[in-house]
């Protein structure tokens, strides 16, 4: 209440300033009057009494000032006055303000953008009830090594025996279905979860409900919020309606919370069905009774008051019991409880990446801060006289300091706003990077409230850091010099200045950044020219999944054959084929192989597996070296396969493999041909052994989870062709959902995402750094010129020619640039060594980069020095000397 009254009175006083002053006046008046009365009562004469009373009271103005100072409002008012003064001052120098705002803005934007990644993947918790008491459950092996998925019986056993967990749920990460309900059937990714999933998560459904305990195998479905919005227009009436899911009739029972995407922050599932439905939706549903197949992700809710450690201890006891009961399967395994929102196996790599990029972003901010500090220092130097005058008129240092700091805080705030705007654009651009994988992932980032807070704090820190030193120095000028209008900060005899050091720091850091961006750009170019082994253009692809439409393997073979034949008939199509996976999709299927009668393979025996139809090698453009390709094979004949050169080198040590048998576990393949090497998972990888098998022969036993991609080599208009292809596929079966339509060019672009991402990031950062450094150097040089105007005038009066003056100024600036190069080059080389694993076909000590970048920097520095030096050479000696 006291506070409230104080605020109210203060505001009243501020509002009615004149009234308050009158009040004080009146009170003083009466004080004086009473005092005079009293003194006269004691016998003084009127005149003496008045004089004595006046002496007692002292200056009316001082008293008034003191009374005002007793409340907070006077401080607020001073602050307000300072603020107004500062804004007026800043408005008068728009050039400086723009450069400062842009500098801080770029620095803050770089950091805020990186932080948006941290915010989304490391800090944000899913929209579930009390995420703090949720843990993710994984299986350990070899006495506690992390981490595997969970077999279903383990989930049930733990759920049955635990005292410390109130519920244990499990889910299958991603399952595709063909979903009806729109104009065309659509393939959608979702998750299959145990019936207690939404209960354990305590998720507040947008509409409807989660699964009932009895719905372990029921045809019910919960739709994701986004899918519900996009496909069903956010109509809550969909709840309770039937929906066609891969040819089965499901009932929509609920809509998931907004933003809910399961518990993984990277995957992007759009629906949830009970785990028991999985065999209906995919032919490869793992055996739910197996204690060996580790196919589920687990999530559990801790009982109130139970810590994760206590629960983990109980898990040891339970799994110990299970190991005794099921020694074949459970021995040496355990169950670990991890913090929710962990990225699991990828967490360490993700954190490293974010850390590395954060360091780079901080470097940009540092350059920006140095720039701002430099500009403010120059500003401060020009204001020496003003400061000195104010000091000698009775202003205190603290007052000057406060006002100067206010100025830099104001600038920082503006910079923060610019930074947030820039990073909104940057996160948008960053979100357009896609991974070349055929599953649903969400890597988009945006500026959320955490990013806003971060940007605000960062810009405030930047403002204080940049503002403090200049403010400190500006507030203590060398008085006599300053009053005369002379350079009051110059400390004669110093061969370096703070400002010079700042510029050197800037140029050094931007050299390091630019070298890195040079390396990554060269790497991107060479990655784009890496021979992937197949034709990277002129192919269009779209996928279908007969398994989602209840095709038997026999019918699927027939259907794929007729689709392929229809494709060949389209105008512009040269050849067509079908495969289960496109190369460079970051890993498809692979398995261990052995070749009977051959010595141990050179290196690992893991072989990349592709299923193909006739004309595959012709369509994708992989040359066959010997033997034949895969034709329209008889499903019941012995299985045939084509292998690549690396396979021959590894398993046959260069001997002719044709006619030999290679075993995938207990499945034998007869090798009928050898194809040239191709890149299989990523562009930068070393060659991997590849085995191509026939779709006809393998679709029954080992169907693809990603569907089958129809691949067409063509000439002509892409969009017309894709429309024609879709038309032909629907002519075969109108119910087929078509997905992942893309061209090989687009796919290659996505496949280059890593070098592209890193290259773009560093180029943006590097260029920003150079720009800032150039501005910094320019600022220092033009300040030097204006400071030395008199000296230059004397020199010219004594006969120095314009060219000589100009070269003197340029030399001074270039000395700073050369010092920076001498420091920066070794640093850049050291930093480049750290990037080795991210480079494709470029050495970390790439000569082109390390000669071009310094030359570029020198050129930029020359321009930054040359402009002010021109001004110096135009100094009129008479005018300069008359300045005295």
């Amino acid at each position: 209440m006291g506070l409230f009254k104080s605020i109210r009175d203060g505001l009243n006083a501020l509002h009615n300033k004149r009234g308050r002053n009158r009040q004080i006046d009146e009170e003083l008046e009466s004080f004086l009057g009473e005092s005079i009365n009293e003194k006269m009562r004691r016998g003084m004469t009127a005149e003496d009494a008045i004089r004595a009373a006046r002496a007692e009271v002292g200056s009316v103005e001082v008293v008034k000032h003191k009374v005002w100072n007793a409340g907070w409002e006077s401080r607020a008012e001073r602050l307000w006055n300072d603020l107004r003064y500062t804004v007026r001052r800043l408005v008068r120098m728009p050039g400086l303000v723009i450069v400062v705002l842009l500098s801080i803005g770029i620095g803050v934007a770089a950091n805020a953008t990186i932080f948006s990644i941290v915010s989304k993947f490391l800090l944000q918790s899913p929209p579930v009830g009390e995420p703090a008491t949720l843990v993710s459950v994984v299986r350990t092996y070899d006495h506690g090594r992390c981490c595997n998925g969970l077999p279903l019986p383990i989930v049930k056993d733990v759920q049955a025996q635990t005292q410390s967990l109130s519920g244990v749920a499990a889910y299958y990460e991603l399952v595709p279905v063909a979903m009806g309900g729109g104009s065309k059937p659509e393939r959608v990714w979702g998750q299959a979860a145990t019936a207690n999933f939404f209960d354990v998560l305590a998720a507040t459904m947008t509409a409807g409900r989660g699964f009932l305990a009895t719905e372990d195998k029921s045809p019910v479905i919960v739709l994701g919020y986004r899918l519900w919005q996009q496909k069903f227009g956010g109509d809550a009436g969909i709840v309770g309606k039937p929906l066609d899911i891969s040819g089965h009739v499901y009932t929509v029972v609920g809509i998931a919370p907004k933003g809910f995407r399961g518990l993984d922050q990277v995957l992007d599932p759009q629906f949830w069905v009970p785990l028991g439905d999985l065999p209906d939706l995919t032919a490869k549903s793992p055996d739910p009774e197996s204690r060996n197949i580790q196919w589920l992700r687990g999530v559990a809710r801790l009982n109130p008051g139970v810590s994760r450690e206590t629960a983990a201890h109980e898990m040891e006891v339970i799994t110990g019991r299970l190991a005794k009961a099921h020694p074949d399967s459970d021995k040496n395994t355990g169950v670990a409880l991890l913090k929710l929102g962990s990225l699991g196996r990828d967490e360490a790599a993700m954190k490293m990446f974010v850390l590395a990029v954060s360091i780079v972003a901080l470097m940009v901010l540092l350059i920006a801060c140095a720039n701002v500090a430099n500009l403010l220092l120059a500003q401060g130097a020009e204001r020496q006289r003003e400061m000195a005058v104010r000091l000698s008129l009775g202003a205190t240092r603290a007052q000057l300091l406060r006002q100067l700091l206010l100025e830099s805080l104001l600038l920082a705030l503006g910079g923060g706003v610019v930074g947030v705007l820039l990073s909104m654009w940057a996160t948008y651009a960053l979100s357009s990077f896609r991974l070349p994988v055929p599953i649903a992932m969400d890597l988009s980032v945006r500026v959320d409230w955490r990013v806003l807070v971060y940007a605000f704090v960062l810009s405030m820190i930047a403002g204080v850091v940049c503002g403090f030193i200049p403010a400190w120095r500006a507030s203590r000028p060398t008085m006599p010099n300053a009053l005369k209008g002379e350079e009051a900060l110059a400390r004669p005899g110093r061969w370096w200045s703070l400002r010079g050091a700042l510029v050197v720091t800037q140029i050094t850091l931007s050299l390091v950044l630019l070298c890195a961006s040079g390396l990554f750009l060269r790497s991107l170019r060479s990655a784009a020219t890496i021979d992937v082994g197949f034709r990277s253009r002129g192919t269009v692809m779209m996928a279908i999944d007969p398994q989602l439409h209840k095709y038997t393997p026999e019918r699927a073979v027939v259907m794929l054959r007729s689709v392929r034949e229809k494709m060949v008939g389209l105008p512009g199509v040269m050849s067509a084929t079908v495969t289960d996976g496109v190369p460079l999709s970051m890993g498809h299927r692979s398995d261990g192989f052995d070749v009977p009668g051959m010595p141990k393979p050179l290196g690992e025996n893991i072989v990349e597996l592709y299923m193909i139809a006739p004309d595959y090698f012709e369509t994708i453009g992989i040359p066959l070296l010997s033997g034949r390709g895969i034709g329209d094979e008889n499903p019941d004949a012995p299985k045939v396969a084509v292998v690549n050169e690396e396979f021959v080198r590894r398993f046959f040590q260069g001997q002719n493999p044709i006619g030999h048998t290679a075993n995938d576990g207990d499945v034998p393949f007869t090798i009928v041909g050898v194809a040239k090497n191709t890149k299989s998972r990523t562009i930068g990888e070393d060659q991997r052994p590849v085995l191509y098998r026939s779709i006809n022969q393998s679709i029954a036993k080992d169907p693809s989870q990603d569907g089958y991609t129809v691949m067409v080599r063509y000439e002509g208009d892409t969009s017309a062709l894709t429309r024609a292809m879709e038309h032909e596929i629907h002519a075969v079966d109108p119910a087929l959902a078509i997905f992942n339509t893309t061209t090989m060019e687009e796919h290659m672009r996505d496949a280059l995402f890593l070098p592209r991402l890193v290259g773009t990031l560093f180029t943006v950062f590097g260029l920003a750094g150079v720009l800032l450094a150039a501005v910094g150097l320019y600022g220092v040089m033009s300040y030097t010129v204006s400071r030395r105007t008199k000296e230059i005038g004397v020199r010219m009066a004594l006969g120095a020619r314009a060219a000589q003056v100009q070269s003197m100024i340029v030399r001074g600036g270039m000395r700073l640039a050369l010092v920076s190069l001498a420091i920066g080059l070794p640093l850049a080389l050291a930093a480049a060594r750290l990037t080795t694993s991210l480079l494709y076909g470029v050495q970390p000590w790439d000569i082109a980069t390390f000669t071009l970048v310094p030359v570029l920097l020198i050129a930029v520095a020359l321009v930054a020095c040359w402009i002010p030096s021109r001004r110096a050479s135009h100094v009129d000696p008479m005018a300069a000397l008359r300045m005295e």
């Binding site: 006291g2 009175d9 004080i24 003083l28 009466s30 009473e34 009293e38 002292g58 003191k66 409340g71």
Partner: protein, 109 residues
């Protein structure tokens, strides 16, 4: 004749004002006069410190100000103690007593 009047001991002004007002409401000069009289001229309070103190105390809710006519028929602001001020006076007096006792103990040791 008493020694030259001295400044108040730091931080005691508000306590003394509260004590003065405990008897009856007074205006600014009345407070100054009362303090000077009771201290037999040892303390003299000038308006430069009294008025800001009164303003602070009014803000804090310890006293309540009111315009009234004085016996000399002059408009003046009279200050009266509030319940909160009475409490503050009590706690400050106790505090002061403790401090004085402690200082005395140190000086006599």
């Amino acid at each position: 004749m008493p020694d030259q009047p001295t400044d108040l001991i730091q931080g005691t002004l508000e306590m003394l004002v509260l004590k003065t007002l405990a008897l009856e409401p007074l205006h600014g000069y009345g407070i100054a006069l009362r303090i000077e009289q009771i201290s037999q001229g040892a303390f003299r309070v000038n308006p430069g410190s009294l008025l800001p103190a009164l303003s602070r105390m009014e803000r804090a809710g310890h006293v309540k100000g009111e315009w009234r006519a004085t016996e000399n028929n002059r408009r003046a602001r009279y200050y009266a103690l509030t319940a909160k001020g009475r409490k503050a006076l009590q706690s400050e007096t106790e505090n002061w007593g403790r401090q004085i006792a402690a200082i005395n103990r140190i000086l006599e040791a």
